[in-house]
C-alpha cells in the first residue's frame, strides 16, 4: 500500500516517536523515494519545533514554592494533631479556616480576632462524631428526595448543579434529640472520589449551629468551623432546618467551594420574597 495516503498519521506518530521500529524504518525508506512525503514531514517537524518553543512555560516563582512548603507544614501539623485523636482515622486536611477564607476571597470583619478559638456548637460536634461511624444508608439514588419528604420533613436535598457531585443516599438519624437526616454525596476531588455528608436537622434555633467563623453570602449566613481538623460548614434556614456539611477528606477550601455552589443560596433568596 502507499504510505502517502496515511502521511498525516505517520508523520505525526514519527515525530512523537510513537512508531514501532519496523514502521519507522519503512517510513524512512519511503521518504527517500517520495519527495512529497519528505516535504510534508519536514514542514511538520519545523511547525512542531516552533510550537514547542512557543509553549515553554516559565518556571514556578519562588513564592509558589514557599507557599507549597508552608501548606505542607500545616498539613504535617494537622496530621500530628489529628493523630492524637483516637477516632481520627485519617490524616486530616490541612487548610485552616483563615487560609481557606483568604484563598476564597472572603472578607473578614476587623472585629473578628480569633476565629479559631471560638467554641463550635455541641450539635456540630455530635454530627461530626456520628459521621465517623459508617452506618448503612436506608435509601439510595433517585428516590432519596421523595424518601426525605416522606420520612423527614418537607425539604429538598441540597442540589449541586454539576455532574462531579452525586447524591448517593440517606438515612434517618437524631442529633441531640432532634430528628435528622444524613445525606451522603460523592464528589470528584482530583483523582479521588471523596464522600461529603450533609446532615439536616429539624427544629433548631438560629444560634444552635453557630460557632467558628460567620460568613455572609448573599442572604445566607454560613458558619465555618474546624472540628479537630475536619472542616464543617453550617447553616440554618427560616424553617428552622439546620444544615451541617462536612467531609473527612476535604479541606475547608474544598468544602466551602462546593457548599456555595449549592442551591441553598437560591433558596435563601426566595425565602426573603
Amino acid at each position: 500500500m502507499s504510505l502517502c495516503a496515511s502521511i498525516d498519521t505517520l508523520s505525526m506518530a514519527y515525530l512523537d516517536d510513537e512508531l514501532a521500529a519496523e514502521e519507522r524504518r519503512e517510513l524512512e525508506l519511503h521518504l527517500v523515494d517520495c519527495a512529497s512525503c519528505k516535504l510534508h514531514l519536514d514542514a511538520e517537524r519545523a511547525d512542531l519545533q516552533l510550537l514547542r518553543v512557543a509553549l515553554v512555560p516559565p518556571p514556578a516563582p519562588d513564592t509558589v514554592k514557599a507557599k507549597i512548603a508552608r501548606a505542607l507544614d500545616s498539613e504535617d501539623q494537622r496530621a500530628a494533631r489529628a493523630g492524637r485523636k483516637r477516632w481520627a482515622r485519617y490524616a486530616l486536611p490541612a487548610t485552616a479556616v483563615a487560609a481557606a477564607a483568604a484563598a476564597l476571597l472572603l472578607f473578614v470583619g476587623i472585629g473578628m480576632k480569633q476565629p479559631h478559638t471560638q467554641a463550635i456548637a455541641t450539635v456540630t460536634h455530635e454530627v461530626v462524631r456520628q459521621q465517623t461511624r459508617p452506618l448503612p444508608l436506608e435509601v439510595q439514588g433517585a428516590s432519596t428526595g421523595s424518601w426525605l419528604r416522606e420520612h423527614f420533613a418537607p425539604v429538598e436535598p441540597p442540589q449541586f448543579d454539576e455532574p462531579g457531585i452525586q447524591l448517593i443516599g440517606a438515612r434517618a438519624t437524631a442529633v441531640q434529640g432532634h430528628d435528622a437526616a444524613l445525606l451522603r454525596y460523592l464528589v470528584n476531588v482530583g483523582i479521588n472520589r471523596v464522600s461529603l455528608t450533609a446532615v439536616l436537622i429539624v427544629d433548631v434555633r438560629q444560634d444552635m449551629l453557630n460557632g467558628g467563623e460567620a460568613v455572609r453570602i448573599g442572604n445566607l449566613t454560613l458558619h465555618l468551623a474546624d472540628a479537630d481538623g475536619q472542616p464543617v460548614v453550617t447553616y440554618v434556614d427560616d424553617k428552622r432546618i439546620g444544615y451541617v456539611f462536612t467531609s473527612e477528606r476535604m479541606t475547608m477550601k474544598e468544602l466551602l467551594s462546593i457548599v456555595v455552589t449549592s442551591d441553598l443560596i437560591g433558596r435563601a433568596q426566595q425565602q426573603l420574597r
Binding site: A13, K67, D76, L105, F107, G190, T261
Partner: protein, 221 residues
C-alpha cells in the same frame, strides 16, 4: 513522628522536584499565573495527602500530572463559579458593612500583580485561550510535558486514537493562530499555505490503528 518526617522527606525528594514542571502544565492549562499557583498548590497538597496511594517505582511525574489535570478538569469550573459567587457576596458586604479587611488583599490586589497578569497574556496565551479544553490538555501534556500518547490517554480517560486526533487538531489550530498573530504583528511575511495545509484539519483522519489494521490485512493476504 519519625514516620511523618520520613514521609515529608520522601515527598520532597520524589514529588517536589517536579514543581516547575507541574507549574508549567498548570500555567498552560489555566492560562493565568494566579490560577496556576492555586492549581499547583492544591494538586501538590492533595498528592501529599494521598501519598500512600502512590505506587512507589511508578512514574511520579505522570502521577502528579494526572492529579493536576484532573483537578483542572473536575474542579476548575466549580472553583471559578464559587469565586464568582463569593466575589459578588463580598462586593455586597463591602457596600453594606463599611470598612472591611480583604483577607487576601496583599496577594491579589497589588498593581504589580495586575501588571504581571497583563504581561503574560501574550500571543501564545491568546492562541491557547481559543482552544477547546480537551485539545489544550492534550497539547500541554504532549508538547509541554513530553508524555506519551498512552500516558495521556490514561490521564484523559480516552483511547489513544482520540488523544491523537485531539493533539493533531489542537496543534494545527495553535500553529495557525501563532502564524496569524506573527503575521499581523509583522514578525513574518504572509506566506502561501504550505503543502497539505490547505485542507481544514477537521477533514483529515488521524488513525494509527486503522493504518496498522490495514497493514496487517495486506501482510497476511
Amino acid at each position: 513522628m519519625l514516620a511523618a518526617r520520613e514521609k515529608r522527606a520522601e515527598f520532597e525528594r520524589q514529588a517536589l522536584v517536579h514543581t516547575d514542571a507541574l507549574y508549567g502544565a498548570a500555567y498552560r492549562l489555566t492560562r493565568n499565573p494566579r490560577d496556576a499557583e492555586d492549581l499547583v498548590q492544591d494538586a501538590l497538597l492533595r498528592a501529599y495527602r494521598f501519598w500512600d496511594s502512590f505506587e512507589q517505582d511508578s512514574n511520579c511525574k505522570a502521577w502528579l500530572l494526572r492529579i493536576v489535570t484532573n483537578t483542572f478538569i473536575n474542579e476548575y469550573q466549580r472553583k471559578k463559579r464559587s469565586r464568582e459567587v463569593l466575589d459578588a457576596a463580598s462586593a455586597e458586604q463591602d457596600a453594606t458593612d463599611g470598612v472591611l479587611v480583604h483577607a487576601d488583599a496583599s496577594d491579589r490586589q497589588t498593581p504589580e500583580r495586575a501588571l504581571l497578569d497583563r504581561s503574560v497574556s501574550d500571543d501564545v496565551q491568546r492562541s491557547l485561550d481559543a482552544l477547546p479544553d480537551d485539545f489544550r490538555t492534550a497539547v500541554v501534556l504532549c508538547d509541554v510535558q513530553g508524555l506519551s500518547y498512552k500516558e495521556i490517554a490514561e490521564i484523559m480517560h480516552t483511547p489513544v486514537g482520540t488523544v491523537m486526533s485531539r493533539l493533531f487538531r489542537g496543534r494545527k489550530l495553535l500553529a495557525a493562530a501563532l502564524r496569524e498573530f506573527a503575521t499581523t504583528q509583522g514578525y513574518v511575511r504572509d506566506e502561501a499555505p504550505k503543502p497539505g495545509e490547505t485542507a481544514d484539519p477537521k477533514d483529515k483522519t488521524i488513525d494509527l490503528d486503522a493504518y496498522r489494521a490495514q497493514k496487517s490485512r495486506e501482510g497476511s493476504s
